[in-house]
Symmetry: C2
Subunit: 327 residues, 2 copies
Amino acid sequence: MSSRIIEMLEQQDGQYLSGETISKELGISRTAIWKKIKKLEELGYQIEASRRLGYRLAGKPSKLILSELLTKLKDTSFICSVKLLDSVDSTNNAAQQLAEDGAAEGTLVIAEQQTNGRGRMGRNWISPAGKGVWMSVILRPSLSLQFAPQLTLLTAVALCRALKELTTLDIGIKWPNDLLVDGKKISGILLESTAEDERIRYIIAGIGISVNLTEEDYPEELRGIATSLRIEQGNELDRTEVIAAFFRQFELLYTLYQQEGFSPIQTLWEALSVTLHKPVKLTTPAGVVEGTPIGLSESGALIVQKLDGSQVNVFSAVTSGPPDVRG
Amino acid sequence: MSSRIIEMLEQQDGQYLSGETISKELGISRTAIWKKIKKLEELGYQIEASRRLGYRLAGKPSKLILSELLTKLKDTSFICSVKLLDSVDSTNNAAQQLAEDGAAEGTLVIAEQQTNGRGRMGRNWISPAGKGVWMSVILRPSLSLQFAPQLTLLTAVALCRALKELTTLDIGIKWPNDLLVDGKKISGILLESTAEDERIRYIIAGIGISVNLTEEDYPEELRGIATSLRIEQGNELDRTEVIAAFFRQFELLYTLYQQEGFSPIQTLWEALSVTLHKPVKLTTPAGVVEGTPIGLSESGALIVQKLDGSQVNVFSAVTSGPPDVRG
């Protein structure tokens, strides 16, 4: 029924179509039409409503095209298969299901929309249709579990390098893997690992990039701490380009990591970091750590120089106060 | 129907009951009875068959009793809830489902029988009804992912100490977590971790202990490399006692670990190890390592002194040759 409304509006070529006409054509009430219109807006359609003139299609959600995506990803041998979905609860969930069923490394799941996108620490992740890159890729590294957190840092470096390649923005990494522009979050990375004893079975690398979201896409309370490439850069970006740029960088660094270990990744991460050399207060499983991060350890922990001059390796922080949210 | 047959056999008090009588009573064919009998044997019933006399119940599977178990586990505050199952594909799967649904640390799943018990590296684990301890417990440590492999070593130490407490056997730990008696495997431990970035969501600690298995329970090809407490010790053990002894030790070490870190666990592991100071050849993700293990590193890796005198930390080995299978 909704697709019939879109079809009718599209035939108007940007001109208004009265609610009465739609109502007669589809045999449903004006209220029912209004509800369908709201639903379509949630899916990314821009529909202007006028009490007098009716409805007008002002913009459509830009859809990813699988064939175009596959062509762009041809340069990277890393991606072996792509599953493009209209809507999914969470691309990480979908990829995990595929991994459990034996899907190979490089299997990629992309969704136009996530209805229950997950961020770090169980937080929701805003992922409306057609405006961002919401994707998850299966990794099966020959790596012992101790090293899994290094891949979180590697993914952040790859994404940061890709987005800097495509924009003129000053993008930095907040430890461990948030990308910030002017202190506001522009992407989210969530690597979910499953292991048997010390052996990694697989890792789902979930990457959310706020590409073409507008301010209206964010609830009031998030506008000061979250942003999009479009808001910051001032123009829309081609999401297919963003995906391809990321995987070019990811493949490069992942190969480098497997050949040379963490050391080159560490150097790249430190150069892009906005966390280092600024005072922080971190709540870790072992208690609150206050001091200044001065670098990454060999294993990927954040080295914090405490107020008394001693150094401590922070492997994970449960929460972090405002001082380290801003870049 | 099967339970009716058992009931009838039990009323005979160890005497034979003719197939004809069963056939008449239950209104099923002699062939159907024979099939039910085979099924009962798989469930752990020992039934002697005589062409002339019929069937005789020679032994029943010893069943774990939940109330008895809860009484024995009262000393340990660690276990918060126990789910006792007759049969399950794998207790790790069952516990994982509970963990995904939010079950707390200390939730324990025990099954009389696993139909698809899993061992390290996807190997099957023989877990017939009523003869072993097949269980999985949910852990939710405030611990960063890097340290998860230390819990594998801790679990092995706890189990080794518990089994030494209950038997006079010379039990040792083969790196990382196999328990051996005279070079034969007596238990299996499999810790399955799931994490988001560097944070552990939960760990399922799966523990399989071959308590009262007889030689007949093992296929021919495993008899040289697997054994049970009963075979080695010469008498049956009370499985409830085994479970309680394990969790007393586990709670002790887990608390110690959370207070003092890995160092005391490392010392205990090294003292119980049969891997140290004997030449090994390990196939690791980084290649074959040949040398002599001399201890554990701070992070739980095996420190191997190579033939050229240099030392290398082995975090995981994909396979290991015969030299290190034997204690």
